[in-house]
């Protein structure tokens, strides 16, 4: 029986961080099934999904990571989960939302509140700031959204007008079929 853990690590970025962290996992015979990392303002944040043998626990992993020689301390948090390690495909009602417009405060809050109001779960979110132009791409799960898609689309149009941002929302499958060779 394997034990599944979600590990989150934040630290100042430097060459070799990923090698250090995955090295510590390797020493405990952990198997990395998924990893996501990004760097913002020279700070690296990484989230990993790893399976270990049953006898390995959170403390062992924290101890192993604390042995890594580094200038900036790692901030680590670990959760044990029940789910298996296999990749869960996005739900059928997955949509991609894009938001563009002049930068101002409250943009991420506004759109995430819109999603919350419609019981839309944000699966992924990426933002870019170029000059004063802010753009945001969100992957959304609408399967628990109580309203039909046309109601959400029209509410989104109203929100887009009122916020001064150009907002579009299209089904995830469109992006997949137009950008990937394999058609599922």
């Amino acid at each position: 029986m394997k034990k599944q853990m979600i590990i989150s690590v934040m630290s100042k970025d430097r060459p070799g961080i990923i090698a250090s962290i995955t090295g510590a996992i390797y020493k405990l015979e952990g198997d990395v099934s998924d990893l996501n990392q990004s760097v913002l303002c020279n700070y690296l944040n990484m989230i990993l999904s790893v399976s270990f043998n049953e006898n390995v626990n959170k403390e062992d992993l924290i101890a192993e990571i604390s042995h890594i020689k580094t200038e900036c301390k790692f901030e680590v948090s670990i959760k044990e989960i029940d789910q298996g390690g296999e990749k869960i495909p996005p739900p059928e009602e997955t949509y991609i939302m894009t938001v563009h417009g002049p930068n101002r405060t409250g943009l991420v809050y506004g759109i995430s509140q819109f999603c919350a109001d419609h019981t839309i779960n944000i699966l992924d979110l990426a933002t870019t700031l170029k000059g004063n132009r802010f753009s945001m791409v969100l992957q959304l799960d609408l399967q628990n959204c109580p309203s039909p898609i046309e109601t959400v689309q029209s509410a989104l149009e109203d929100y887009s007008e009122q916020s001064g941002q150009t907002i579009t929302m299209q089904h995830n499958d469109i992006f997949q079929v137009t950008n990937e060779v394999t058609l599922h």
């Binding site: 991609i96 894009t98 699966l123 992924d124 990426a126 870019t128 753009s135 791409v137 992957q139 898609i149 046309e150 689309q153 579009t168 929302m169 299209q170 089904h171 499958d173 469109i174 992006f175 997949q176 079929v177 137009t178 950008n179 058609l183």
Partner: protein, 460 residues
């Protein structure tokens, strides 16, 4: 998650560049609707269409909303009616056309095609009755489109049927003179007509097909135009961009466009439990600005459509579109290529108006496009034999080149070359094209009989 640049490129394509699924067409077999009486036959036809297409429009609309891609037309094609009505008379065929029109209205589709006959070799008595019925059947109905296949590469050209085509086109235009001869826009003559084409007026449900099938027609000349413009803008230095790179861009963009059609087609087919047939990727223009095939000629380097080089550009365009489409879809069929329907394309119509595009050049261009002389308005006083002879030239191109060609000519009653005709909506408007050497071909048409198939048809 996908890369942001891929996402943004796709959003551009859908939101700003007129990407749509031009048509989802349901093909329905009517062969076994034939009964002992005309009344019972009509009843069976209605029942069959209601059975298969009852939820068709609602399902297309639902999928269109789900994916956020407009499905512009919902259409039906049926088994060529001359087969369904073997042994019937002219008035019976008119009654069937009215039944089909009623059934199309009942299920809410935009157009129904398949009021058709296959006459590439010989004609039966039924076929003659059927052809006689076309002008009245089409002028009495609203949603029915007619087509006749009079030639194939295998069998040659049926010159007796060809002679009847000129008269049929003239009658159709004259019977609908109050709308500028609009009836002729709903009738098309083919060589090598495909049985799975979802586009009108030439859609039929071929004899080789299953009971019901869904074919999807995707378009998007606007999407191709904008992607080419972006590529050209990224290469401002002269000589830094070559023609093969432009062809590659067309191919890749076509791939994306076709994929959207494949997605919608599979979704509708899954929901209706009707077999998914083919995706027909055809650059079909609409009169909307920015949704023109003619515009692509200018982007690719000729300043006037019809100028030397136009045929070569169209050859490349047609080929690149086919290559992108073939890879994107499990089954590509129908016409798949570039359409050059004069009235439906604002830039082509403009070229007719300013004299850069003449009928002879248009004919040359149809050697390398995917259909033929499409939506071409000609003077109302063009005689029937000259019309048959124009069609004969177009049929010969298809026959010898082993490709589909078609002619949809509209002799606009009471109007002369250069005058404007407008049908409105997707059918568009154009100045009338001059027909040179009118009245010089009657002895040729009078021979009748058959034009033999070309030598390369004997591959057996």
């Amino acid at each position: 998650m996908l890369r942001s640049d891929q996402i943004l490129a796709t959003v551009e394509m859908i939101q700003k560049e007129n990407l749509d699924v031009r048509t989802v067409t349901m093909g329905i077999n009517l062969l076994d609707c034939r009964a002992e009486s005309l009344e019972k036959t009509c009843k069976n036809i209605k029942k069959r269409i209601h059975h298969f297409a009852g939820n068709f429009v609602a399902t297309c609309d639902k999928m269109s909303r789900k994916f956020g891609i407009p499905v512009v037309n919902k259409r039906i094609s049926v088994t060529p009616i001359a087969f369904v009505g073997a042994g019937l008379k002219k008035s019976d065929f008119i009654a069937i056309a009215e039944t089909l029109d009623q059934a199309a209205t009942d299920v809410g589709v935009d157009i129904l095609g398949g009021f058709s006959a296959q006459l590439e070799k010989g004609m039966t008595e039924t076929d003659r009755e059927f052809i006689d019925s076309i002008p009245e059947a089409i002028s009495r109905t609203e949603k029915i489109c007619a087509s006749v296949n009079i030639a194939t590469t295998q069998k040659g050209i049926n010159m007796d049927a060809l002679a009847m085509m000129g008269t049929t086109v003239k009658d159709l235009a004259e019977k609908t003179a109050d709308s500028g001869g609009f009836g002729a826009a709903k009738f098309v003559v083919f060589c090598n007509q495909p049985g799975d084409n979802p586009f009108m007026a030439g859609a039929i449900h071929g004899l080789e097909e299953a009971d019901a099938v869904l074919n999807v027609g995707v378009s998007g000349p606007g999407v191709i135009a904008r992607s080419l413009e972006r590529l050209i803008k990224r290469h401002p230095m002269p000589g830094s961009l070559k023609l093969d790179e432009l062809a590659e861009e067309i191919k890749q963009t076509t791939f994306r466009v076709t994929r959207c059609g494949e997605l919608i087609g599979r979704a509708v087919s899954g929901a209706l439990k009707v077999e998914f047939g083919v995706v027909d990727l055809s650059l079909a223009p609409t009169p909307t600005v920015g949704d023109s095939v003619g515009e692509l000629f200018k982007i690719l380097g000729v300043d006037a459509v019809g100028a030397p080089g136009s045929t070569a550009i169209l050859a490349m365009l047609n080929d690149a579109v086919k290559k992108g489409g073939v890879f994107a879809s499990k089954n590509v069929g129908g016409l798949s290529g570039a359409f050059i329907p004069v009235m439906e394309d604002a830039v082509l119509a403009e070229a007719v108006g300013n004299g850069s595009l003449c009928l002879e050049k248009l004919e040359a261009m149809t050697c390398v496009c995917s259909v033929g002389l499409d939506m071409v308005p000609i003077p109302g006083d063009t005689d029937a034999k000259t019309i048959s002879a124009i069609i004969a030239d177009e049929m010969a191109l298809g026959m010898v080149n082993a490709k589909t060609t078609a002619a949809r000519l509209i002799p606009v009653p009471g109007k002369k070359a250069g005058e404007l005709v407008s049908f409105g909506g997707l059918f568009g408007a154009s100045p009338i094209m001059e027909v040179r050497n009118s009245g010089q071909s009657s002895r040729f048409i009078d021979w009748g009989g058959r034009m033999p198939a070309p030598i390369h048809s004997f591959r057996n």
